[in-house]
Point group: C2
Chain length 206, copies 2
């Protein structure tokens, strides 16, 4: 616990801080933000990344569309305004997880630099690791595991990213994986090589 | 990890589940929901409860008005509708924490049974421990550490709970502490006596 918060507690001070929790968990918390088209492979990477990290002793949490859109953002649509609000809420939730010492693996299309920059600003530069999960639109459309591209082509889904809504390739991603050329395992390995030194718990000696 | 989710992963399945994380943390996750008037003592109890739990090896997270209203609910007001939406979002966030194996200490006035029942339903009966932090209005108004009651009496704060907005004493609280008669330490001890057997990690032997 932080020295100045021991003893008599004042309202609005938190007695157990992020550093305490990171020490307990023996890890540095971080948000790994996977951005990319639908069917680019974000979910597979998120899940395999979680398996790898958990097996190495790290405590993680996956945040993705399924868990967020059925919960905290269940009252939002897919308009431009609501997409922003959705990502804003996700970023705020991620911040709470960071303060609990947890590594959050976020898997969201998050199609524009503006929207990703908002997330980065809320979460904080030092806490944010942006990963571009890159596969060409043609490949994603061919994969189409949920039939969403087909629906969008038939006009049954409006504002579908890559079809009638823009996806801007990230300008600021620290990592880019090419899922049309790499296996999931190779992509996860690439992310881990970058990530592990950042989340390893090291004691600061003064 | 759950047996049926090993090997080839399907989309929308989570490889590391709550049970795995609870086992790793050696605790059962839970939401401790502190309800009561402003200045009833919720924050002091939340903070001292976190200190006690953390010192016993439990991983916790405090959610309260300060952290929520400046973050995920920063775009909400204090109208009846927005209070509901605020508590809904908090409940959804708490659910995410539960799935990470964490013990969430939630400190919110949450003034009506309807609003508390909504939280309980979202979070799930088995995950929810409601604690009524009870102090008479006169005492809370006398304490008034932030001067909010005075402001409300002067008409400078609208819809202030206890003054011009209702507080319904909880019907379903599992624990009631009387902060006008008990010290913070006594209230925390009372909660711990009830809580510790619920969050202790026990191995299920089949």
């Amino acid at each position: 616990m932080s020295a100045n918060q021991q003893g008599c507690l004042k309202v609005d001070q938190y007695p157990v801080i992020r550093e305490d929790k990171e020490k307990r968990l023996q890890q540095r918390s971080k948000v790994i933000w996977l951005t990319g088209l639908s069917a680019a492979g974000k979910t597979s990477i998120a899940q395999n990344l979680e398996i790898e990290l958990f097996s190495k002793g790290y405590l993680t949490q996956i945040l993705d569309g399924d868990v967020i859109r059925s919960g905290i953002s269940s009252n939002l649509t897919y308009t431009c305004e609501d997409r922003f609000e959705n990502i804003r809420r996700i970023a705020e939730v991620s911040k709470l997880f960071i303060n609990s010492g947890i590594i959050s693996i976020n898997s969201f299309i998050s199609p524009t630099d503006e929207i990703r920059t908002m997330a980065r600003q809320i979460i904080g530069e030092d806490n944010f690791l942006e990963v571009y999960v890159n596969a060409p639109l043609e490949i994603c459309e061919k994969r189409d595991p949920k039939g969403l591209y087909a629906k969008a082509r038939r006009g049954e889904l409006k504002d579908f990213t890559g079809i009638d809504s823009v996806f801007e390739p990230p300008q600021y991603a620290q990592i880019e994986v090419h899922t049309d050329q790499q296996t999931v395992e190779e992509s996860v390995r690439q992310i881990l090589d970058y990530l592990l030194p950042m989340i390893e718990y090291k004691i600061n000696k003064n």
